[in-house]
Amino acid sequence: MAKQKAEKTKYVVPKSKFNKTYIKRYWQLYALLLLPIIYLIVFKYLPMRYIIIAFKEYKLNMPLSKMPWASVKGQTDALKYFKAAFKDIDFKRALWNTVKLNLLDLIMGFPAPIIFALILNELCFKRFKKVVQTIAYMPHFLSWVIIASLATQLLAPTDGLVNQLITHLGGNSVPFLDDPSHWVGTYVGAGVWQNFGWGSIIYLASIASINTELYEAASVDGAGRFKKMWHVTLPGIKPTIVVLLIMNLGYIMGGGFERPWAMKNNLVIDVAEVISTYVYKVGIQRLKISLTTAVGLFQSVVGLFFLLTANTISRKLGERGIW
């Protein structure tokens, strides 16, 4: 025991900010860390200089520094593309849809893995638990293109399996894909279906680290299953929940491209167009690079604002932030 303690003190992190001996001793580990840092610099930080395209007129075959500043009728107006974006009804629609769909995703999709993890935790047959867990993970590995075609096969108004079943049973076909409000439900539902199994892994790990003595103590005090869940498990994974919530709030203005792109169709475009699909359609397909860089920049700034706010609130509430 004493020997262990001695070792612990020996390896404790030194208080000083920069310690040469420390780096010297563990330089191999630092060398390994270099790889991800270089990745971040090359692929995340260096490209950031192209943000300036949002304030310039994009030209093919011209180095960044030589591109002229954005101008309206010869008058330099660096904010031209921001103004243009906010005049564009499609962008405003995409902005609103992004927030709306992400919020719905958060409300429906965030609690789902927690609930699933709690339920799974209560199962006593180990093998059954494993099987259920694996089945629930699976959709995570399907691409959205596949999920969207599955959805079309299952939910199309007349050819879809589900609607064929409904009509054969004498009901009316449900417009899962072609009516805007139904489509939102389908979209959110598909998202929950794809992610709840995968999302629950981190909670299960977190639950496993809860001290079992707490459960024993609760049992002695006469707590039932539900009480134990409420008073032991949930508080035990609260820090995990908070950190994940903050990170998810950071995505409220973001969100992937594949899911809305693969699932949208012309009839529901008013609720399905989000910023990422707008950027692809206008920027890549119509080559309006400056306009969509402006949109992307705006999106990132708002996203950052959400992240910082959530982090501050969480710290104020006495929880750990993400840094």
Binding site: W27, Q28, A31, L32, L34, L35, I38, V42, Y58, K59, L60, N61, M62, P63, D88, I89, D90, T152, A156, P157, T158, D159, G160, S173, L177, D178, N265, N266, L267, I269, K281, V282, I284, Q285, R286, L287, K288, I289, L291
Partner: protein, 579 residues
């Protein structure tokens, strides 16, 4: 020790990785610079040749680095080629045809040709990316002129006017085939720039309405010849699903369309347009190839909307996207009674064609025939063919550092023998000669010659400035047209060609210069399709408001600006409303 070794290896990998990245970057940035200097070099020679009093062919040849029409040093050019991912086809960029072209270009001009394949269905995205990354092929083509104009505005396209001016003697066949009018169709009268060279169509038929002949026979119905009769026929199909489809009765679709309503209802829409419309009105509203803002379109869609609500039109059309084959599969399975499409759609793709598939399942009688059934207000069947001038547009990106060798490629592609070989190949391989009429009959190659399979009909993707059968003799071309589809009845093709030309008008192509507003809109085609789709599925009571709102958004998103600029450009160029 082991740990140290591992970290050294890892660090080394990283360093090498970085070096590799860096050098690639360097290569990429230096390439366009090199291109720039070389283009300026050709510009300089342009001045020289213009100043030279006697353009001596030998001197010209020398400046181009050529001798007897051949480059002294081997040149290398890259050429765009659509990849259609055909079932049972060959590798798009490497097959007997591409190898033949490569060999010919090497023999004739000492030019190495490399094909860059882009997906047919995402060509615009692919070309955008290639241009932005400075790696676009030297010769590009697309159907969309406003895209080229967008590239040109960004400095990404080579001006062909001076290039043609000084190298006209290199491309006699191109001038023969296209003519000055087509070559300079896109010349901007004010700036004098020429960003693209238009191609030509040799077959101008465009659309047809098709109906299942065997279903008409089974139900004892005549071939419909008016809108009302057509509607009655669709109703008869719907109500007799049990007779026509037996146990598959629930799969009956009297008429199918796709999300691209403007195209897939084109004969109907054009029948609602005024047959006496002026050239100016047609042109002004003609930016959109789907006639969204033409006079009469709304009433056509209203009729479609009525049919949709009566269960005569496929309910699921809007949820399937561009490259989805659900509808084709449905038509081939025999569940569909009528549709509107390319004038030759049921005959395309040999054994996999719609008519061949139907015949294989249900017997020779099961087939689609082309009909004229949507009467216009004068009692004719108003419709439009393609214009034979102007089709695919060929352009050279600014990164093209071999513009002269690229011109040689266009010259090669304009020669009648080249086109004829690419279209019909060698006798016995992909065509035979009909003993009675002497017509050329296209057939699919056998197993031994599979490498000569044509990935696109008549190799249209390779004959970049010619769309449609073009044999050395025009008489033979007309005669052979009906035989250029394998595995289907030539009589049906003949009928389709005739039907497509009844009361058909060929749009005039005015030359009024670049319309800047056409590069401004953000997503006009998307807006147009959304308007069409939403209007078709609306309830009859909501139809007007849905349509009007869609049109309003389309116009606000840039449609109106295009109409206005086109009107102004027309007024500035022509004094009359008709050409």
């Amino acid at each position: 020790m082991k740990k140290q070794l591992l970290s050294v290896v890892l660090a080394a990998t990283m360093v090498f990785g970085l070096v590799a990245c860096g050098s690639k970057d360097a290569a990429q940035t230096s390439a366009p610079q090199a291109a720039e200097t070389e283009t300026t070099a050709t510009d300089d020679t342009a001045v020289d040749t213009a100043e030279a009093t006697e353009p001596d062919t030998n001197a010209l040849d020398e400046q181009r680095g050529m001798q007897d029409g051949k480059f002294i040093e081997t040149k290398h050019i890259t050429v765009e080629l659509y990849d259609r991912n055909v079932d049972g086809g060959t590798e798009a960029g490497n097959n007997a045809w591409t190898q033949w072209i490569q060999q010919q270009m090497l023999d004739r001009y000492n030019v190495e040709v490399e094909f860059v394949t882009v997906s047919r269905w995402q060509e615009a995205d692919d070309i955008n990316n290639l241009l932005a990354s400075q790696s676009a092929p030297d010769i590009c083509y697309t159907y969309n002129y406003s895209a080229i104009q967008t590239y040109a505005n960004m400095g990404g396209v080579l001006d062909l006017a001076p290039l043609l001016e000084e190298n006209k003697d290199l491309v006699p066949s191109m001038f023969d085939w296209l003519g000055e009018g087509v070559i300079y169709q896109d010349l901007d009268p004010n700036a004098g720039t020429l960003w693209a060279i238009e191609g030509k169509r040799n077959e101008i038929c465009r659309i047809n309405t098709f109906i299942r002949k065997d279903w008409l026979d089974t139900l004892g119905l005549p071939v419909p010849s008016t809108k009302q009769e057509f509607e009655d026929t669709l109703i008869a199909f719907r109500d007799n699903a049990d007779t026509l489809l037996g146990k598959d009765a629930s799969k009956m679709v009297p008429m199918s369309i796709s999300y691209d309503v403007g195209w897939r209802a084109a004969t109907l829409i054009e029948s609602f347009m005024d047959p006496d419309i002026t050239d100016k009105e047609y042109y002004v509203n003609g930016y959109d190839s789907r006639a969204l803002t033409q006079n009469g379109t709304k009433e056509a869609v209203r009729l479609l909307n009525k049919w949709y609500n009566e269960g005569l039109i496929w309910k699921d059309f809007a949820v399937h996207t561009a490259d989805d084959t659900t509808e084709d599969d449905m038509i081939k399975a025999g569940f569909v009674g009528a549709f509107i499409h390319n004038y030759d759609y049921p005959f395309r793709n040999g054994k996999d064609s719609i008519n061949a598939t139907l015949a294989a399942q249900y017997g020779e009688d099961a087939k689609f025939i082309a009909i004229n059934t949507f009467e216009d207000k004068n009692g004719g069947y108003n419709k439009y063919t393609y214009s034979n001038t102007g089709d695919r547009k060929v352009f050279f990106p600014a990164t093209n550092d071999e513009p002269i060798a690229s011109l040689c490629y266009l010259e090669f592609m304009s020669q009648p023998e080249t086109v004829e070989f690419l279209q019909i190949g060698e006798e016995g391989v992909i065509h035979t000669t009909d003993a009675a009429s002497g017509a050329i009959v296209i057939q699919a190659p056998d197993e031994a010659h599979h490498d000569w399979y044509q990935n696109s009909g008549k190799n249209i993707d390779m004959t970049i400035n010619c769309n449609g059968l073009r044999l050395s003799s025009p008489e033979l071309t007309t005669l052979s047209l009906a035989y250029s589809y394998s595995d289907v009845d030539p009589e049906d093709v003949k009928n389709a060609i005739e039907v497509a030309q009844v009361d058909a008008k060929t749009p005039k192509t005015p030359s009024v210069g670049d319309i800047q507003a056409e590069t401004e809109g953000t997503d006009l085609d998307g807006k147009r399709d959304q308007t069409y789709d939403k209007a078709v599925v609306a309830s009859e009571a909501d139809f007007d408001s849905v349509w009007d709102q869609g049109i309003e958004e389309y116009l606000a998103a840039g449609g109106q600006a295009i109409i206005d600029e086109r009107t102004a450009a027309w007024d500035a160029t022509y004094s009359s409303d008709n050409l």
